[in-house]
């Protein structure tokens, strides 16, 4: 059972100028079972990226603990793959060298790596682009490379930090389908941070709406749209009345939060 | 608008050209060059404005760092008379075709020393042991000239030496550090430093016996000499008078030291080695046919550029203003 478990996660930053303590996260508790897809939504400053960084191992919690499959998370690791908003590709390497980066770091046999790279490039729809320099790729293709680079290491959890935020609407929709397909085919646990309510609803099997000051999970949803998205067209789902209802509810919720922040600020 | 602009440019340009061509002829002031830290009796006349009074025109004195710079300034027309230009830069200037003449001898002094590092056991009697050694020499200076004369007199083959071009201060340092086995030095402070760790390859007497000496010259542009012979003559006259009036009294030394920018003690020590020949001596010994000036200039020319045509340099020596 490779579940992702967060127990009483607390994160407090001290402002170096005035010494004020900001509670970025307070008492976060949840368990993400293997193969679940969770999207996290919230206004800016609600700590969703802090949460992701903690699970990725880039930050250590002030108190509490996160563990994966019973192992305490103490630093970044191959079992938790990351996909960043801008791809964070290595522009001095061609596509295939970007994808097999993780394999090279652990000295995998080159022939084996090449097979894996070809397989994954095929899956993300980039067959034949192995020798292309990454700086010549479009934004959507760069994110495909980033996905392949992450998946080639066979991680247990995939953490995505606003992976589709910088893409145009059409590319975004294609990529959303791709994510769902990959989720289905690989059965990986996926955690996606996003600021798009639509995206969170479409992709999230579970959805957390987070609230700021202190950062906490405000409301949790279990949604059917991701399952449906595997079979139906995403555009149809968006037209669905149930979809529209939840969307409006969450939008109001976030709107109120923003209002509150503005009022207090 | 445009036309008048062009006209203005033309007018001012031609005005500038006229100004340049006329300024060259009007001797309403005389520009003289001298060295700081090089004490000479005529500095009293310089401070007292005796030159200005005697010549009837103001004399502007500009100090220079090197004799080569004096040549450059004379060529560009900024300087008319150089007092105490080194013989080496003068001869080089003549070989480059500069229109200058030597009209007098400013200072006669002992040739610059080449110091052999103490402890090597090399002196003038076994100088051939220098072969294969490293020598610091400020190339194309009077010290370089002296070095080559010493080596010729001591029958040392210069081509077997490793010659390093170093300024005197650096050469003294290298000698102290044992990086070079011999260093040829000019200048008081550096020579003193080199004397701490080395010994001159030739004594004063040996230098005199071999006829190795140094002197600084008074040089002037040919143009200035042609157009203002009476000013040149008065300049030399005042110089001669101040040389004659030199008694090395404390008051005199204090005055010279102040103008030369040196301490009284250093001035005293420096001037003790200097000789200021009278006009008569200059005419008889230096400017006579085959005199010291001509032969020294010729051998200097030979040393520096392999050009042995001394007669050419001799033509630029003109003692007539001393009479």
């Amino acid at each position: 059972m490779a579940d992702l478990v967060c127990e009483d996660l607390n994160m407090a930053f001290t402002n170096p100028q005035n010494g004020a303590v900001v509670e970025a996260l307070k008492d976060i508790n949840f368990t993400l079972k293997k193969g679940e897809l969770l999207t996290v939504l919230g206004p800016s400053g609600c700590g969703k990226t802090t949460l992701l960084n903690m699970i990725a191992g880039f930050l250590n919690p002030t108190s509490g603990a996160a563990s994966l499959g019973g192992h305490l998370i103490e630093g970044p690791g191959l079992e938790r793959g990351m996909v960043f908003q801008q791809g964070a590709l290595f522009e001095w390497l061609p596509v295939s060298k970007n994808v097999d980066f993780g394999l090279r770091m652990k000295n995998t046999d080159p022939a084996e790596s090449q097979k894996l790279v070809e397989k994954w490039l095929d899956i993300v729809g980039l067959q034949g682009f192995g020798d292309t320099p990454t700086y010549q790729l479009s934004g959507g293709m760069q994110q495909r490379v980033a996905l392949a680079r992450c998946l080639v290491n066979d991680p247990e959890v995939i953490l995505m930090d606003e992976p589709l935020g910088a893409l145009d609407a059409l590319t975004r929709e294609k990529m959303q389908s791709l994510v769902l397909e990959l989720w289905k085919e690989t059965g990986k646990t996926i955690l996606i941070i996003t600021h798009s309510v639509e995206e969170a609803l479409l992709l999230g099997e579970r959805l957390f709406v987070m609230a700021p000051r202190p950062g906490r999970v405000h409301k949790e949803y279990n949604l059917p749209f991701a399952e449906r998205g595997l079979k139906e067209s995403l555009r149809d789902i968006k037209q669905d009345a149930a979809f529209g209802e939840v969307r409006e509810e969450i939008l109001t919720m976030i709107w109120d939060m923003e209002e509150e922040i503005m009022g207090r600020g | 608008m445009r036309k008048s602009f062009k006209k203005t440019i033309l007018a001012s340009a031609s005005a500038a050209i006229l100004a340049v061509s006329f300024a060259a002829n009007a001797a309403d002031k005389v520009n003289a060059a001298f060295f700081l830290e090089w004490a000479t009796p005529n500095q009293i006349a310089k401070v007292d404005k005796t030159y200005d009074k005697a010549m009837g025109v103001p004399v502007n004195w500009t100090d220079f760092k090197t004799g080569v710079a004096m040549t450059e300034a004379m060529l560009s027309g900024d300087i008319d008379i150089s007092y105490s230009q080194g013989l080496a830069p003068f001869v080089t200037a003549i070989q480059q075709g500069a229109p200058l003449k030597m009209i007098g001898i400013a200072v006669v002094y002992e040739a610059n020393n080449c110091f052999v590092k103490n402890g090597l056991g090399i002196n003038s009697s076994n100088a051939s042991e220098l072969e294969g050694k490293t020598v610091a020499v400020p190339l194309n200076t009077m010290a370089d000239y002296a070095f080559r004369r010493y080596m010729a007199a001591l029958k040392v083959d210069v081509s077997t030496l490793k010659i390093v071009d170093q300024a005197p201060a650096d050469g003294a340092q290298s000698l102290a550090d044992g990086l070079v086995q011999m260093a040829c030095i000019f200048g008081g402070a550096s020579a003193k430093a080199a004397g701490e760790v080395g010994t001159p390859i030739m004594t004063k007497q040996q230098k005199i016996d071999n006829g190795i000496g140094s002197f600084d010259v008074i040089s002037v542009t040919e143009k200035f000499a042609t157009e203002n012979p009476e000013l040149v003559r008065t300049f030399l006259e005042v110089t001669e008078e101040s040389n004659m009036a030199w008694k090395a009294t404390d008051a005199q030394i204090a005055k010279v030291a102040k103008d030369a920018g040196m301490k009284i003690e250093t001035t005293k020590a420096q001037m003790a080695d200097f000789m200021f020949p009278s006009s008569k001596d200059q005419l008889e010994q230096y400017f006579s046919k085959g005199g010291i000036a001509a032969s020294a200039a010729a051998s200097l020319g030979l040393v520096f550029s392999g050009d042995s045509d001394g007669s050419k340099i001799a033509k630029t020596l003109d003692g007539s203003f001393l009479k």
Binding site: F90, E91, W92, Y135 | V68, T134, D165, E230
Partner: protein, 642 residues
């Protein structure tokens, strides 16, 4: 071959100049055409717009070379190879008549006599005003005033035309006649004249260290040379003419007597020391002016009018005889023309310090000739060549001598039969000192190589040590804070400021010079590597952490390639600065190198050599920069596209 080029450099220059003009016109034409084609779709300030346009490079280079050819007189020499010699002959005439001209309005606005009268009057007034009343008695003061009045009367007498002696008038008339004869000779032309064989055998303009040959090589030149020779006699006559009005004879005797009397009174010693000195100085100042006035150099103003107009006539005749030479000179020879000094003719103006391009090439070829005995190289060392290096030298350098010292046993001593049998310890010492034969290898040699070697080694060390330090400083708080004060303190110090220390620490061999250059390169490399590494995006580092990379792997595989653009730019800057520091470095203890050549050339004002070294350094710098640009293009194509 080289000889042929050297002798025909003027003709070659003529061809080159024509070619350059053609290139200039052609490239300008192409450039304008291209500009017209693309003007519509371009926006001013668009960086893409600066790409291409090689024809403008051709245009720029051609312009530069033509300007060089023009101001160095290279263009003039190319088409009028005899012009300088002819100008020299004209300059000879100018030189010999200059003493006459200097005394006349034609040469210096005023008559010399007018200037002398003005100057001496002012001085007499000043002397009169400064009369020290406490040093002289009232009687003496009166007498001194009278004495000064008498001295003044010398000028008055000399300025009166009535007093001009018949002898002087006669001499002046004779002078005018001779000058007019010279004018006539000049106007008669050079039809029957021809240069001597000796003159024609002289080396061509600029081919030897004598810039311009002095004997006339054209008929026109011979004419001027002849006239100049005769004019010299005339000038000698002129300088000797004196105006001694009879009235002055008695005055001179009187003044002399009075001055002697004053001196005699002074010498008795009846005055105190201070007074004696004041009196002597005052009389001296009067005597000095008197001595300038008794030599008869002042003439009545109009007496010299004849000479003045004769000289003007001579000038006109000179311009006539010069013919088209005057026009050629004013168009093709910018500056003050050729000046004849005592022994030679020299170019004046920009040509004095700007050698002709072809001469610079000739000097460069002479320097690059590896045959030292044949006059090549500089100070006994070739510019760029190779030599055999004994391997033992390197061994001797690398193996320290003390290895032999610590070997057990003693060094050999000479035996009773005066023979020496070396033991192993001796052989070891010889080995450590490189006194064995281990074969030879060819290595590069020469001034140029030495300079390049110093720059490259310094640069290599700077990169090797500076880049890792800079990379760590960009990512580690310890490295940044620990080394920051150190680097920032030494970086702003100009390289030459280290010179005195470097000499005593490293000595006179290459290592000191290399260290100086290294100091420069190191700072630049540290700064650029640091900027590069600290500019790495956090997400890239986080991504590589997630991909299982260790810290060292991230350093090598992420931070280094990410900093590569800055590092390569840093190398490019460092190369340039190193070349700039080379001259300073090679001043320390000059033995070889391009900077050494320049330093020596400076002491002898050898402008040709100075320009050769400047051009060598410029071209080498350019070459390195082009290499770096190519490397940057090849290794970091993603720059500006990431």
């Amino acid at each position: 071959m080289v000889e042929w080029f050297s002798d025909n450099r003027a003709n070659l220059a003529a061809v080159i100049v024509l070619f350059l003009v053609a290139m200039l016109i052609w490239s300008f034409y192409v450039g304008r055409k291209q500009a017209a084609l693309t003007a519509k779709d371009e926006v001013f300030g668009d960086p893409q717009r600066t790409r291409g346009g090689w024809y403008w490079s051709v245009c720029g280079v051609a312009t530069l070379l033509l300007v060089w050819f023009y101001f160095s007189w290279g263009m003039g020499r190319a088409y009028f190879p005899n012009a300088a010699n002819e100008m020299c002959q004209v300059a000879k005439l100018e030189e010999v008549v200059s003493p006459i001209k200097a005394a006349l309005p034609i040469g210096s606005r005023y008559y010399k006599s007018t200037l002398l009268v003005a100057r001496n009057s002012t001085q007499l007034d000043a002397v009169q005003g400064e009369l020290p009343v406490d040093a002289f008695t009232a009687d003496e003061q009166a007498e001194l005033n009278e004495l000064i009045g008498k001295v003044r009367s010398l000028m008055v007498n000399a300025s009166d035309p009535k007093n001009l002696s018949r002898e002087a008038t006669g001499k002046l008339d004779q002078l005018v006649f001779k000058l007019n004869a010279l004018s006539t000779e000049l106007r008669a032309g050079s039809a029957n004249l021809s240069p001597t064989a000796k003159a024609l055998a002289q080396p061509k303009w600029g081919t030897t260290h004598i810039e311009i040959s002095i004997l006339p090589i054209t008929a026109r030149g011979v004419l001027f040379d002849n006239v100049a020779t005769k004019a010299k006699e005339v000038a000698t006559l002129f300088v000797k003419i004196r105006n001694h009005p009879p009235a002055n004879v008695s005055v001179i005797t009187d003044v002399k007597a009075r001055i002697s009397a004053f001196k005699a009174v002074n010498e008795i010693g009846k005055f105190d020391e201070r007074k004696t000195r004041t009196r002597a100085a005052y009389i001296k100042s009067v005597e000095r002016i008197f001595r300038r006035l008794d030599d008869g150099t002042i003439f009545p103003a109009n007496s010299l009018d004849g000479v003045n107009s004769a000289i003007a006539g001579l000038d006109a005749a000179r311009d006539h005889a010069r013919g088209n030479l005057g026009t050629i000179q004013s168009i093709l020879f910018p500056g003050q023309g050729v000046v004849k000094s005592r022994t030679q003719c020299t170019e004046q103006g920009s040509a004095r310090w700007l050698p002709k391009p072809t001469d610079v090439v000739a000097t460069f070829l002479r320097l690059s000739n590896p045959d030292i005995d044949g006059g090549g190289g500089y100070k006994g060392i070739p510019l760029l060549w190779w030599k055999w290096l004994p391997v033992a030298d390197t061994v001797g350098f690398l193996v320290p001598d003390w290895i032999a010292d610590i070997w057990p046993g003693e060094y050999a001593k000479h035996g009773s039969d005066a023979t020496i049998t070396p033991n192993f310890k001796d052989k070891l010492l010889n080995f450590a000192r490189g006194k064995v034969y281990l074969g030879v290898i060819p290595v590069l040699d020469g001034h140029l190589w030495d300079s390049v070697f110093r720059v490259l080694v310094a640069l290599g060390l700077g990169i090797f040590l500076g880049v890792p330090l800079g990379l760590f400083m960009g990512v580690s708080r310890f490295f940044k804070s620990f080394f920051d004060p150190l680097i920032e303190l030494y970086r702003p110090v100009p390289p030459l400021a280290w010179a005195p220390l470097i000499l005593t620490i490293f000595g006179i061999t290459d290592d000191g010079k290399i260290f100086l250059l290294f100091m420069v390169a190191f700072a630049i490399m540290v700064i650029s590597a640091r900027t590069g590494s600290s500019g790495t995006q956090l997400s890239k580092i986080r991504a590589s952490h997630s991909l299982g990379a260790s810290d060292r792997q991230i350093m090598w595989n992420v931070i280094l390639p990410n900093a590569l653009p800055e590092i390569l730019t840093g190398i490019r800057i460092a190369i340039g600065v190193c070349w700039g520091t080379l001259v300073a470095a090679e001043i320390l203890a000059g033995t070889t190198g391009v900077g050494f050549i320049e330093n020596i050339a400076r002491t002898v004002s050898d402008y040709e050599l100075i320009w050769v070294t400047i051009l060598i350094m410029g071209l080498l710098g350019l070459m390195f920069d082009l290499i770096m640009r190519w490397v940057i293009e090849k290794t970091i194509p993603w720059r500006g596209k990431g």
